[in-house]
Structure formats: structure tokens, C-alpha cells
Symmetry: C2
Subunit: 234 residues, 2 copies
């Protein structure tokens, strides 16, 4: 009987290839098979991040995984899980490239749910863009007794406002076309002056803008707003 | 005139030396001076994590930095910042070892506030124990439209209860002697069955316990409770 292959959820960090962990780098460079998401237009951001580490002998599985996990998108995940399972069944380890941290808002979670009961699975944590943004912006996120809330801009206006109203520190992710809604709420709550905007943190095309200068029609999905803790420590 | 040295806040991750990033590893192994916190008993956890990467020629600055940043502790931070500044002034780069992520509840923040206006400073993000715990527990933290709140157990009971009552997913850090208080709140809110307990995630002495089996008098500062998002994704 063939031993089953091992499934790795490889956190590869937010964009700078040097932000891979030693562990993710070791596994990435030794597994026989790698899988990664591609956009509908065929772009493979995760693969691009680690391109220099990939060997020509490695088998590659590009997976078209829609961001929105609606019922209609389920078939994409089923198909991707099946392709990965084919290799695991015959004993080949598969490393799934996950931007940022696999277990935090990651599309990997949907593959994990489908495969981890059947196959030995290991998650390798990665640097989340939420954390890397603090380093790029040069600001502490939170300290002492403060609560940090991480929330997607895709939330409805009422929930977003309620959560932001009580947050000591907040990070609002997945801005994209939701920027104008978020901006309005931050303005109403008097939080604009504490809000920092960053796009594609640590990636080649990283941009940091004053929040009042952001053009709402041009905001990327890969941008976030950070509201650091209010009180500066002594 | 001598060029100033560069201050690095080096995120070294939660405990497993392989969870250093390639960047933190490169800088750690090339800076002439490293600084790290030691406990009042002289224990140096951060140094122990990266012990295999340190060269004998590197100058070491052990810093006694009390966890509680009360007024009485300020002098410790002043003294540590001065010692680091001595090297930066004469052009020596200094890498400060930071467990987890430097900008998230890190004692490094207090050194950063004292030194970053005077000296060129770079933060290298690290894997936070909050993120690594998900990998070790084998559970997704949060997905879709859920809000994740990270909060210290040191908060007063009323604030903790209010924040946990509205959290979709939560991570409660710095448990230590606050475990009993947190447990009571989780029980009252009906959250115990979703609560996962982990101690020293990814470190040699990592322990995962069922929350009802934890002995409240033996809980480490380095333990946390994770309450993952409620709804499992399809």
C-alpha cells in the first residue's frame, strides 16, 4: 500500500519573498507538487512571490478559486481539492501556496476543510499582511490592554460602524470597492485622522497614501486601513 | 562624521526557530550587535529561540525589561534604549530580538518610541503566536465576513465580557493568573465549547489542553485561548 502524501498549507507572507519563513522555504523547495490560486485572468500572485524558489521539476497545479465563496463557486473548490487529492493518494506531498497567513481569511481554509480529514495535513504559519503593514507604516499596532479588531470591508455598514466604534485598534482589510463606505464611517466616527492607508504591503508595487488622498474608484482588494492604538506609550 | 547605525526590530516568531523569516535570519546573522529581553530571573527566551544562529563575535545586550510598563519600570526602558543608542551612535547596526510580531503588544514598541526618531529604524515583521496557534491547533481562525478580535486577558471583567459577547472570532492572550476570570466569562457567554487552549505555541514545551482540564493556578503568561469563527465554511 502506498503511504499517503502530506498536505502543506504554506503561508508565504504578504509579498516580499524574504518574508517567507525558513520552514515554508524548506518545504516549498522540497515538495514534488505545488498548488496555487490563479485569478480568472490567469494571474498567479502567490506563485510570483516565490517564483525564484520553484524548481522546474516540481509539478504545478494552478487553481482557479473565486474570491467570493458563493454556492456557484463551490465547484471550483471541489475540482481543486480533487486535483490535489490525486497526488496525495499516490504518496506525493503537496504544498499549497497561501498568501499571508493560511488560517486567516485564506481561501486555503476551504481546501483544508475538504482534505484534512482524509490526508495528513500541516499548516505552516505565514506573515499576515495585517501584521506586515505595521512594519511598513512604521507604527505600533496595539499595546497594553488594548483590543485589536481585524475586519473585512465587505461587512454591512451597520456592523462595520458598531465594531469600529468600540475598537481600540482596528485593521480593515479587503477594501477594494468598499472604500467609500468605510471612509464615510471613519469620517462619522472621527477616526480619519488616525487612519493609515496601505496597498500591497511589502509587494513591489506597495503604495502608502494619506487617506484623504485615496481615489475611491481605484482602491485595490489588496489594500487595508490601519487604525493603531490611540494612546502612545511612554 | 560617523554614519549612524541602523536599528532593527527583528520579529523572530513564536518559538520554533524555523519560523524566523529569511529576512530576520539574514539580518540577525549579519548585525554586529544584538539586544534581547531577559526576565528578572535572567531567562532569555528570545535569545534561546535563535541561539543556533548567533555568532560568538556578535556583541550582546541583555535587557531587563519588566512586562508591566508602570511608571516604576520606565527607568529600565530608558537604560536599555541608552545602551542600544551607544552602538547606533558609532555606526553599529543593532538587531533587537522580538518574540512574535514586534508591533503587536511587543515590549519593543517602548524602545521604538524612544529610538526611531533619532536613528534609522526598520521593523522586520514576525509570526505572531496568535497566528501560529491556529496552525498548531489545526483550526481556521476566521473567514468570510467575520471579525477577529485579539485581546489581553489583563482587561477588566466588564470590558472582556462586552468584547467577547460581540466577537465572531477571538484570541485571548497573556492568560497567566487571569485564566479563572476569563474562564468564568466564557462559561457565562456559552463560549467554552468553542474555546481552545494552547500554551507556548511552537515552542519545545508546547501544550494543548481541553479548556475544562486546565489548572487555573498553573497557567503560563505564554498561553492563549482561541475561539475560532463559529460557522464552518463549506
Amino acid at each position: 500500500m502506498t503511504e499517503l502524501g502530506r498536505l502543506y498549507g504554506l503561508g508565504i507572507g504578504p509579498g516580499d519573498p524574504e518574508l517567507l519563513t525558513l520552514k515554508a522555504h524548506r518545504i516549498l523547495t522540497t515538495v514534488p507538487v505545488i498548488a496555487y490560486p490563479i485569478s480568472e485572468k490567469g494571474k498567479a500572485l502567490a506563485r510570483a512571490i516565490v517564483a525564484d524558489f520553484i524548481h522546474p521539476e516540481q509539478i504545478e497545479i494552478p487553481m482557479c478559486l473565486p474570491f467570493s465563496v458563493e454556492r456557484a463557486s463551490q465547484s471550483y473548490y471541489v475540482k481543486a481539492a480533487e486535483k490535489i487529492a490525486e497526488h496525495l493518494k499516490v504518496g506525493r506531498d503537496v504544498g499549497v501556496l497561501c498568501e499571508g497567513e493560511p488560517m486567516l481569511y485564506g481561501t486555503f481554509i476551504y481546501l483544508f476543510q475538504r482534505l484534512s480529514r482524509q490526508f495528513p495535513t500541516e499548516i505552516v504559519p505565514g506573515i499576515s499582511s495585517t501584521m506586515a503593514s505595521a512594519a511598513m507604516l512604521g507604527v505600533p499596532i496595539t499595546y497594553r490592554n488594548d483590543v485589536l479588531s481585524i475586519m473585512p470591508a465587505t461587512l454591512d455598514e451597520i456592523t462595520l460602524r458598531a465594531r469600529l466604534a468600540v475598537a481600540d485598534a482596528a485593521i480593515i482589510i479587503k477594501l477594494g470597492r468598499h472604500f467609500a463606505k468605510v471612509y464615510k464611517i471613519l469620517d462619522e466616527l472621527g477616526l480619519l485622522y488616525r487612519s493609515l492607508y496601505i496597498e500591497r504591503a511589502t509587494q513591489t508595487h506597495q503604495r502608502i497614501l494619506t487617506i484623504t488622498e485615496v481615489n475611491a474608484t481605484e482602491v485595490s482588494y489588496w489594500s487595508l486601513i490601519m487604525i493603531p492604538s490611540f494612546s502612545l506609550p511612554d
